[in-house]
């Protein structure tokens, strides 16, 4: 099943995948153990003439054992997830590139600060759906929406963040491989929800410079 994960190209993506693997192996093991036990019981204790069932009401020691074992396993899993969660959603590393992405039915409106590095000035550059970023740089995305809730999803980056009208939410990523990736909207946003599709174009440093030079307005 793990082979179906899209190729990962972000710095934190591999850590998410690692967690995914760990939980996958744990749950698969549990599933097979439980199923095996069940099938074994079903075969061994099937109705047979002259073999009565046991009059047995349970065992408190066993109850305590499996309760505390599950509890400990789950708490470990939760606590282990915490640093990664904080890293992705709470404490982004300092930004090297900042862009604004605003959801609207049914496009992503992308705003670059322009040469002066500040939003809301004359030299901002705006385009629909195409997010150009350099490879190996920390990119902050200031996410917003002008109408309904959208969700900024880049499968290859393992990144998903809702864009909520009335809020500006910071998402971040650092791509490790140049290329072109799709940015579907992952939260139902109306009849055009399917097909609301942006594109993340990740450039090598030189290409990025070139793109900036060609497309951004001059100072």
């Amino acid at each position: 099943m793990l082979d179906w994960l899209p190729q990962n190209v972000s710095t934190f993506g591999s850590e998410i995948d690692k967690f995914f693997y760990v939980i996958y192996y744990i749950t698969t093991t549990v599933f097979f153990l439980v199923t095996a036990a069940m099938i074994y019981f079903l075969v061994k204790y099937r109705f047979q003439e002259g073999k009565p069932a046991r009059y047995y009401h349970g065992n408190n020691t066993l109850e305590i054992v499996w309760t505390s074992a599950t509890l400990v396993a789950m708490l470990i899993l939760a606590v282990a997830s915490k640093p990664l969660w904080s890293k992705i959603k709470q404490n982004p590393p300092p930004a090297e590139v900042i862009i604004k992405v605003t959801g609207k039915q049914y496009n992503w409106e992308v705003l670059y600060p322009g040469p002066d590095g500040a939003f809301g000035t004359d030299d901002d550059y705006q385009v629909d759906n195409n997010v150009h970023v350099p490879v190996n740089k920390v990119v902050h995305v200031l996410l917003g929406s002008i109408d309904v809730i959208h969700s900024f999803f880049v499968p290859q980056l393992r990144l998903k963040q809702d864009a909520v009208p009335g809020r500006e939410i910071v998402a971040w990523f650092e791509v490790t491989e140049a290329g072109s990736y799709e940015i579907p909207c992952a939260e139902l946003c109306g009849f055009g929800h399917s097909g609301m599709l942006g594109r993340l174009i990740v450039h090598s440093p030189e290409e990025y410079e070139q793109w900036v030079g060609q497309t951004w307005p001059d100072n």
Binding site: R54, Y55, Y56, H57, N59
Partner: protein, 225 residues
């Protein structure tokens, strides 16, 4: 854990899982009439429990609305938002007092239902009803002034939460006053036997207590700044 079945183990099992039926506190057995024309004690207990459960659900309904109000109020930089009126703190304070006194009458009546003479009960309930009506009239007048000032349901989240929250409470008071009035009139006309009287007063008493008890919370949250 041995599954060998010893006599000793059998006896403990029988204690745990069998044996003579212990008495059940709350639930005397059904006398065999489908719970419909039940013996009065049973239907009284059922009615009281059902009312308590209904009030629990009602509290959750208000919790939803109050939750919304709290989110807006404590999430806002300025409250009330600029351009919105200050709510009438003083007159509503007096109104709060009126409602609380009415609640006190109700509780007193409820407590002394087997001690007070019939006339006194009727009188106390009449007073409770009248005080409840006064509360409604005062609040209606206040609303009238607020609307005249331009403060409406559509005045942002302040107007929206104010009118839904206080309005829902007002609807509850209105329903309770109507119910109280009905009970009082039937009491005055001697239309209820003692069991019916006790049940009706207990039910309206519970409902009225909740409605009255909610109000100081709403007053504190919504009116005070």
């Amino acid at each position: 854990m041995s599954d060998v079945f010893t006599e000793e183990r059998a006896n403990t099992l029988v204690q745990d899982y069998g044996g003579t039926p212990p008495p059940i506190g709350a639930g005397p057995s059904d006398p065999g009439n489908g719970g419909r024309q039940d013996s009065s004690g049973k239907s009284h207990a059922n009615a009281i429990l059902a009312m308590a459960l209904f009030l629990g659900a009602d509290v959750m309904f208000f919790a939803g609305l109050i939750g919304a109000f709290v989110v807006f109020r404590f999430g806002a930089l300025h409250w009330p938002p600029p351009g919105q009126p200050l709510l009438p703190l003083g007159i509503t304070g007096i109104n709060t007092g009126i409602l609380l006194i009415s609640g006190a009458f109700m509780v007193k009546t409820w407590q002394n239902i087997d001690r007070w003479p019939h006339k006194k009960i009727t009188k106390a309930l009449t007073l409770t009803t009248l005080l409840g009506m006064t509360f409604l009239l005062v609040q209606g007048y206040e609303w009238f002034r607020l609307v005249a000032f331009g403060f409406k349901l559509t005045s942002g989240t302040f107007g929206g939460t104010f009118y839904t929250l206080i309005g829902c409470h007002a609807l509850h008071v209105m329903g309770a006053v109507l119910w109280l009035a009905t009970v009082t009139v039937r009491l005055a006309r001697n239309r209820l036997d003692q069991q019916q009287r006790n049940t009706s007063i207990a039910l309206i008493g519970m409902y009225w207590t909740l409605v009255v008890a909610l109000w100081p919370i709403l007053y504190g949250l919504v009116y005070w700044n």
